[in-house]
Amino acid sequence: MIQIQTKQSGKQYWRSLDQLSHTGEFKDWLHREFPANASEMLDGTSRRNLLKLMAASMGLAGLTACRRPVEKILPNVRGVEDYIPGKPFFYSTVFTQGGTGMGLLVEVNDGRPTKIEGNPDHPYSLGAATGYQQASVLGLYDPDRARIPMTGGNPSEWKAFDDFAKDHSTKLGTGEGLRFLSDRICSPSLLAVKAAALAKYPGAKWVEYNAVTHDETAAGGQLAFGQPVITRHKFDKADVILSLDDDFLGLDANTVLPQKEFSRRRRVTSAKDEMNRLYVIESQYSVTGAMADHRLRMRSSDVKGFVADLAAELKVGGNELQIVGGNRDAKRTKWIKAIAKDLTEHKGKCLVVAGPRQPAAVHAMAHLINQALGNVGETVVFFKSAADTVRPQLDAIKELAADMAGGKVSTLVMLGGNPAYTAPADLEFAANLKKVPLSIYLGLEVDETAVLSKWSLPEAHYLESWSDATAPDGTASVQQPMIQPLYFGRTAAELVAQLAGYKDQRAYDIVRNYWIAKFGGKDEAEKTWRKSLHDGVIPGAAQAEIKPTIDVKKINGAIQGAAAATDALEVVFVQSASVYDGRFANNGWLQEAPEPMNKLTWDNAALLSPATAKKLGVAQGDVISIERAGRGMQAPVLIQPGQADDSISIALGYGRVECGRVGKNVGENAYRIRTTDGFRFAADARVRKVAGTYPLAQTQEHGSMEGRPLVREANLEEFRKEPKFAQEMVEHGPLVALYPDHDYSKGYQWGMSIDLNVCSGCNACVIACQSENNIPIVGKDQVIKGREMHWIRMDRYYSGTGEHPDEDPQVVTQPVTCMQCETAPCENVCPVAATTHSPEGLNDMAYNRCVGTRYCSNNCPYKVRRFNFLAWNYGTEEVQKMHYNPNVTVRMRGVMEKCTYCVQRIQEKKILAKREGRRLIKDGEIQTACQQTCPADAIVFGNINDAESRVAKLKGQTRDYSMLEELNTKPRTTYLAKLRNPNEELAEKHNG
């Protein structure tokens, strides 16, 4: 038996919350003891249950499918140029979110877009993609999308609308009472159409509204510099970063660039390397907070006071800035002093960023501090904004709502965004919408707004239509379709062009002619056009930097008056990591993607700190009602260690009532208490416990590492003292095997290295894997049962010291997938040799041989194998099947499945190499899906037999360790230990 001692690295990992409050375990066995009913039997309303029943017939079919069915081959009638059946094309396009475009490459198999990748040539993607983007391909094939135009709730057709529009646009006159409502526009061609429309109808108004917006960021720029600016942070230039409630590694970034840049400064190869330091001040535990070297939890409403005090400490802004001291408790003072010192020591090499949730004043202060510390031009640069002034979206939509209420609006054209659901509650948008004589809504689904509109029109998905978008720095990309619109949807530009009688009517012409004109020069333009389609980046479109001057007086006015302390609770409205502002509610992949910190799926919840929960006398799963501004909502409680006290975070985008089968009535609608005066957070909420409990489906319920050396972590200083700390953390006897090792010294030997020091736990890999490997979703009740299917999962552990470890823990995240053990325990126990080892060191899994004893899963120490307990894939509609990756078997009920290092990609490249007569595959030529999309480049895959390969070099590092190596499983996936770079001034707070 192996002797193991785990050397504590100072930090002791505490047990789960239940164990901390020693009653928990005891309490829940009581109700656990009573077994669940067979929820498979007809009860429950989830989509899965339906499928389960359908599955019955299939099972029998499986038994009797003996006779050889006749299959037909239907070749094309006319050949398609350079189209080869079964060979994918890759097209560049652009994905728009929050008024920002990010370039993508889309894999198209036999005319079906199947996989999203980042566009390496696009400055804001650099080859990576976010979870939203990865999952958007599923949205394309959503069978619940809006399919036909509807008028007054009755099915209609485009022809009818065209006739109507033709005749109506003549009636519009100068456009008094005509209003357009859209998301923030970053599409140059649409802006052109918009301009034309407003020219044709001078009386018309165009309102932009995003439920999740960076409005205040812009306003902050306006406040600081007296002119709108586009701020660009260069995280890779900063040695010290202070985040003021800014989740720039996660939700608050519309692109992956911050992660890309930030991770460059966390990549440590040897004890000599330097590493940046991150301070995070935030209310809800975010992935940025998890990455932080020092995290101070604080109500979002207190951040303003904090930054004011910090400014005072830094003595920025000269005597024009007069801070009347906010509340300064000892702990905060200590932090402010430490941070101020650290920042001043890194003049020009530090960075202060403020989150979009924070008011303009905080942003302005950030600008002020950055300028005072000489960071402008170094770690932060400014671009000229297209707009000449910043009009806060809230004001605009308030006015619109007022006009609607006042009957001033005769025609309202809504371009997506689902305002009836996302608009601030106090505007009563839905009610006012009924007052509008003519409302036209163009949307992807039949949502809350569509059902209230006179005309609701199916919008074309971005993967099936022409458009364009610009990135924050002005880099433009053309959005080109991968497939004909499935449901004959149209784009926003087309609709507006139609109403405005624009010169071009079809999206293709609108976009193309816009750019051709811009490029100028007949054939030259044509060439540039083709090139920009190919590259996905329009050259020369990026704008120049500016160095605006700062206006301290204005800021001084805005910063005064820190939040008054009340006994009320603060509610913070955060966008959902899964459904964004609600628009992805019907996307199963995202609904089932665990929230990065609390691992919640298929729901949102009111996040409370343990202390606050105790104060309110509520426990996990209890239901509370949250009331503010005369409105109320109910939500289940989820206790989130590290949440700021007296602050409730709740995710937007849930509780959709007019939605597809997946997202309907999932979670609670937080927009109900989100008003214009409490749009981002509001410190005036009253909370009371209401009867009943609510089951929450978390994919990980146990937060502690139990003192086990799974994620190995040390401070930079410790690492410098003992670079081998990770390998020495576990002491065990000699690992002797009964039999000689198998010879893996020849040919390709695949291996993987995961750098825990840069992994932020953002989930992009989870969804990329789901998309690449045809991984099904299972539904909430099955997740509760513990049957989720993700091949790669993001483990999250809390660690902490101090008097309240559960109040203020640190977080480590660890992507875990099949380790491809050389002496795999799963293989030995499989009775039918369905899982065996390939000569290249892969742990092969032959689904078609598996009989489903689940013995392999039981015997897997990493628990990475996934079993098809029910026919997850049965009953999917034809259109949904279109997203399947044709190179991966769709697994049937009753078989085991797991990560295979994307063996389909390996084989494809091997065959390619052979075909090209190459002896060897180039290092990096094969990328696993998770590696390719990782915004932090934490995952590296390759041939460990090749000493020059990146993976071999990484495995050579001293931080390299295998999880559970004492079991002698010889995993091919190894980890690079996590490091933190704490400030000794705050040492006893966090260090190990």
Binding site: L738, T823, N828
Partner: protein
């Protein structure tokens, strides 16, 4: 004391059956008639194995044991052959980095196969040696035959015995304490 002789002489005669009521009488009679009078074609029928009857009437020891041993050996070798062929010849799959054939993990199956084949031989070999199933046997013609599976004990002298003689043999048997004797036809 009554003696029945066959009415019709044309029917072939199997032999004489003598009935006893106690096992030890059977044994005693059997020993005498075999050892003292030299009868050889003898058999004894009893509801349970009567100890000492075998050497009393000269029944050799059973050879079943040897047969079972041989089949056991076959099972042993067969199992090894099967596992070796499957793992190291037919399809060499690397499983858990283990050798294609190793003895240790094969032991359970080798053992089970050995036992299984041995058991088959023990049972079917026994039936074979006993020529079962044999639904008809001349001794079943004896009127008192059903008693033999209850509480009767029969001594049978076959007609093929050189010393056999319908009359004398029956007398002899009666003198040896048979409750009743009867000639049964083949």
């Amino acid at each position: 004391m009554e003696t029945t002789t066959p009415q019709t002489v044309d029917k072939a005669i199997y032999g004489v059956v003598a009935e006893f009521d106690l096992p030890e009488k059977l044994v005693a009679a059997g020993r005498k008639i075999h050892h003292d009078y030299g009868y050889t074609k003898l058999d004894a029928l009893s509801p349970f194995p009567v100890h000492g009857i075998d050497d009393a009437i000269g029944v050799p020891r059973s050879i079943l044991g040897y047969m079972v041993f041989c089949t056991g050996a076959v099972g042993f070798a067969g199992a090894i052959a099967l596992i070796y062929y499957a793992g190291a010849i037919s399809y060499k799959l690397v499983i858990g980095g283990k050798p294609f054939f190793a003895f240790e993990p094969s032991i359970p199956i080798i053992f089970e196969c050995t036992v299984l084949l041995s058991a088959f031989m023990a049972v079917f070999g026994m039936f074979g040696l006993n020529k079962l199933p044999q639904l008809y046997h001349p001794t079943m013609n004896y009127a008192g035959f059903p008693g033999v599976t209850n509480d009767r004990f029969l001594l049978v002298v076959e007609a093929t015995d050189p010393k056999f003689d319908i009359v004398d043999t029956q007398r002899l048997l009666e003198s040896l304490g048979a409750k009743k004797t009867e000639v049964v036809e083949a």
